[in-house]
């Protein structure tokens, strides 16, 4: 059962959170979750942390966050990395642990910062540094310099491209947009709507509940809202931007792609019995889930198109019955692609083995409070945000079922069907 979910404000990388690491962000989200639910920290017996860019200080960020946020030393934790769906995977790990009785109360967390990154030395330097530990005497050290070129001293370029295909994600988005004929105008319109909805939701206080105010060093001035939302972004403004991934013929721009963001999220899950014993009022149950792997070249961003039908079938729920849909917006093109394919007869028949296409997801149901394009996308934390938003929306809109889905680098997709408690 999902008891509660929250997140730190999401901030554009290089701005308000640029001095924080994933440890600090993760701690803040988990501490915020403990404060708002007022549970005794000792009852949490598992934490799973989703994060993508490795923290230079520790390989098990989840465990460090347990130790630094006031959870008990006895709470085990592990860290998962599945690109943009990492904290959805965290949630699934927690659900399965609870289902098998390995845990009664668990926290699915996610954290990411793109303001800092582990910048590495090149292999020729690394090899020499490691050998230096065994070097003996001045001669030994000097021998290590043999064959070193000046260019070896440059840092290794950051790995933003898909390892398997060599394509940067935006380039793959272009590939997808061209293949499916998704126009620039459609993408810009979608992006503008996401920003508009996020700004409205913020102004109306709908997002207040899920955000944990951050008091971060060094100024400790409180951050209570996301700082990347541009409510005044109209399609005309977006139309002026140049394509980012294919300069000559492309349609994906910085405006209709998600931006680098820092932030963290945390979701509290518990077994029904534990929730009862602790006097907690859960928001939802996880009715079903689906995890799929797809083709990295032509289907990198289409995970939801495969996992949504599967999750719905596993839950025994039709898409028409789902009142709230929260779909991760990596690119406007990706969202439109997924929506289009779900309604496409050929795709549904040949790829999904369905007799008929899925019902359309009207704009009213989809990302009504804005999405990743506007709010921001800290890779590891987005899954938690989707779950929290879905639960809040189900309550606000009085919906019985909610659907959460996201795609990820590596051509993975996860979808979850939630039922209001």
């Amino acid at each position: 059962m999902v008891v509660d979910g929250c997140r730190t404000p999401f901030c554009r990388s290089g701005t308000a959170f640029r001095d924080l690491g994933t440890y600090d962000l993760g701690r803040a989200a988990v501490a915020g979750l403990l404060h708002r639910t007022r549970i005794d920290p000792h009852v949490v017996d598992l934490l799973v942390m989703g994060t993508v860019i490795a923290d230079p200080h520790t390989s098990n960020l989840g465990r460090e966050v347990v130790l630094g946020s006031g959870l008990a030393n006895s709470c085990p934790a592990h860290t998962v990395t599945v690109a943009c769906v990492s904290s959805l995977q965290s949630a699934l790990d927690c659900v399965r642990a609870i289902a098998t009785g390995a845990a009664e109360v668990a926290i699915a967390a996610g954290a990411e910062t793109l303001s800092d990154a582990p910048i590495r030395y090149r292999r020729s330097i690394r090899r020499r540094l490691i050998a230096a530990q065994r070097a003996k005497g001045l001669g030994g050290y000097l021998r290590l310099l043999a064959g070193l070129r000046l260019s070896d001293l440059l840092p290794e370029p950051l790995a933003l491209a898909e390892f398997s295909t060599g394509e940067v994600m935006g380039e793959n988005g272009e590939r997808l947009a061209k293949r499916l004929g998704i126009t620039r105008e459609a993408q810009d319109a979608y992006a503008a709507r996401s920003h508009y909805r996020a700004a409205e939701a913020t102004a109306n206080g709908l997002l207040t509940r899920q955000i944990v105010p951050m008091f971060a060093a060094p100024s400790f001035a409180p951050m209570r809202t996301d700082n990347g939302i541009r409510g005044d972004t109209g399609p005309e403004k977006l139309a002026a931007l140049r394509p980012a991934f294919d300069r000559r013929f492309g349609t994906l721009t910085a405006g209709n792609s998600s931006y680098l963001t820092d932030g963290a999220s945390a979701v509290l899950l518990a077994s029904e019995k534990a929730a009862q014993n602790l006097g907690l009022e859960p928001l939802a149950t996880v009715r079903s889930s689906s995890v799929a792997g797809l083709d990295p070249l032509e289907e990198l961003l289409l995970g939801p198109a495969v996992t949504i039908p599967r999750a719905l079938e596993a839950a025994g729920v039709g898409l028409a019955d789902v009142g709230v849909v929260e779909l991760h917006e990596a690119f406007a093109a990706q969202v439109l692609a997924v929506l289009g394919l779900l309604e496409d007869e050929t795709f549904c028949r040949e790829r999904l083995g369905l007799a008929e296409p899925m019902e359309p997801i009207e704009t009213g149901r989809l990302n009504a409070w804005g999405g990743s394009l506007a709010v921001g996308h800290p890779f590891g934390a987005t899954g938690g945000r989707l779950i929290a938003t879905c639960c809040d929306r189900m309550r606000h809109e009085n919906a019985r079922f909610g659907l959460v889905a996201a795609c990820a680098s590596g051509a993975i997709g996860i979808a979850m069907v939630l039922e209001r408690a």
Partner: protein, 707 residues
Amino acid sequence: MAMIRTEIRPDGIAVVTLDHPAKPVNTLSPALLEEFLESAAPLLEDERVRAIVLASAKKETFIAGADLEVLDGMSSAEEAEALSRQGNALLSRVASSRTPVVAAVHGAALGGGLEVALACHYILASDDPATVFAQAEVLVGLNPAGGGSQRLIERVGLIAGLPLLLTGRRVRARRALQIGLVDAITTPGGIVDTAARAAAMLADGRLQRRRRRRTLLDRVASTPPGRALVVRAARQQLARRTRGLYPAPPAILDCVETGLKHGIQAGLDRESEHFGRLAMSDESRALRWLFFAMKALSRPVTAAPSRPVTRLAVLGGGLMGSGIASVSLGVCPVVVRDISDDALAATARAVDSGLRKQVRSGAIRRIEHDRRFSRLNLTQEMDAVEGADLVVEAVFEDLELKRQLLVETEERVAAEAVLASNTSALPISAIAAGAKHPERVLGMHYFSPVPKMPLLEIIVTEQTAPWAAATAHAFGTAQGKTCITVKDRPGFYTTRILSPYLNEAVVLLQEGAGVLAVDDAMKDFGYPVGPLALIDEVGIDVGAHVAAELGRAFAARGLEGTDVLPRMLEAGLKGRKSGRGFYRYPEAGRRGRKRVNREVRTFLQAGPHRSMTEAEIQDRLVLLMVNEAAHCLGEGIVSSPRDGDVAAVLGLGFPPFRGGPFHHVDAIGAGTVVDRMKELADRHGRRFDPAPLLLELAVSGGRLRSG
């Protein structure tokens, strides 16, 4: 019952373990000395023994110092001197023994405990927050009488050593290693075995005591002229700081100098001489008494059950609120609620800075800083107080605001939650009027700065339930405060006895005394801060407000406040917070000392400058404070002279070596006090009329305090 266990291991290493059977800590006493001579000292000459390890079986203490109760039982300086000589003789035997002795120190090594370690040939300390060293005798008016003044200087040098001897400050393991106080640090687990390994290596000559790195200053200070300079500078600084009021520090300096000039035995002899004298001194008696009183107050004072506090809410994130949060984060999660984001950010900064200081000093580990900061919830939402077991309100001194907050709080917390106000002068009953459950409303009056000031004044009304008072007491103790409980009357206790004292200081100015003359006179009496500087610190706005309130309440006794403070306030002089008050303060960020503010003259309508003797100034101010304390005791506002003394010393800076206002009355004699006050009443007014309790005592010849 044996306090010492000895064991000779097969490899020839003897382990001597101190373990008092009845107390949670080890202390030094004549009985322990005797037992040591009988069971452990012979090992020094035993041929089977290659080396000795000295350790404690207690969880967080090596040796906590000498058993002070033993001193209280002595009736002559000779007795105390003899005890010191005996101890010195034994420790000298240890220090000069051919058999190496290793001290395995885990936990606190204080006073005599540190001296025992210093007499050993090698000190191994555990790297643990509980391990702390202090030559703390000076804090109870004594001098180290077991070789501390000799061996500590020998180990760490004059520059590092003198401050430790003269202030009794605590040093943690890492710093102790840095300055050369200990030879090595290790993990606490298995420290006895590690020490045994070190002992064996010492016996084989494979290990030497660590030579500390000596800086240039150290080297200069160890030459005779350099030494003389350092000692002279220390003597001057001491005179300035203690104003000659504390006899122990100069005695300690004398022991150090004697030892350096004439050798260690001369120094040890001097230690014993001074110790005998100081043990019988009034100052030391008063300080030792305070030490025991504070310990007694840390235990629950009633049988009433206290409720556990698993969540604290603080309303108001100002200076007091953030201080209260800081000292509570080690106990439970804390919610701080304030309507201003600036205040919340300032609270976050203050808490973080306090935690980082603790990490730097080694009091907590870095991960504990992270944990404690995570326990802090800063919010503008009043709903966040739900689930709190204790709510402390620390907002402005505005009755309506406090009442309103009480109402809003009651709507959100359980009936068993304790609601406390940090007010310094508003009646708790007025704040609690209209409460649905007044039995859980009380006052918790903290002192600023909260992390440093040890006193917590708990104020109970007629309606306050014992369990609520017990809960406040237990929580205050968990925060590290010494708690006293007083009744809800105007000014409670501390504010009430402080007010006439401060008011009189201003009256003296009006009679022509100088600002510095008044402040210096009181510092010469032993107060750490002069009364006028104190008014500036507290704030002239606060001072004026309190004086008006209490003046009204006690007008019948002639205690109306002067109108000087309100007029200064009108002119914008608020004290330190506005940069000007009785003194002018350097601007924020600039260095410099405060200077007397000449403007003050204009508010005084004073006659020509009149010089008063220090005695006159001291009498008028101190007797008013003491008299008011007697009123409070007579009216049952404070429940015992012990409580009244501890509160005045810890909360108001009453000179600790004088023991407190009641101890002071006993020292001078109630008769003398009454006579002097009647004289002052004739000359200056009714406010000097002696309290009924003092009049009774003057007649009966009794004392306020037993002991």
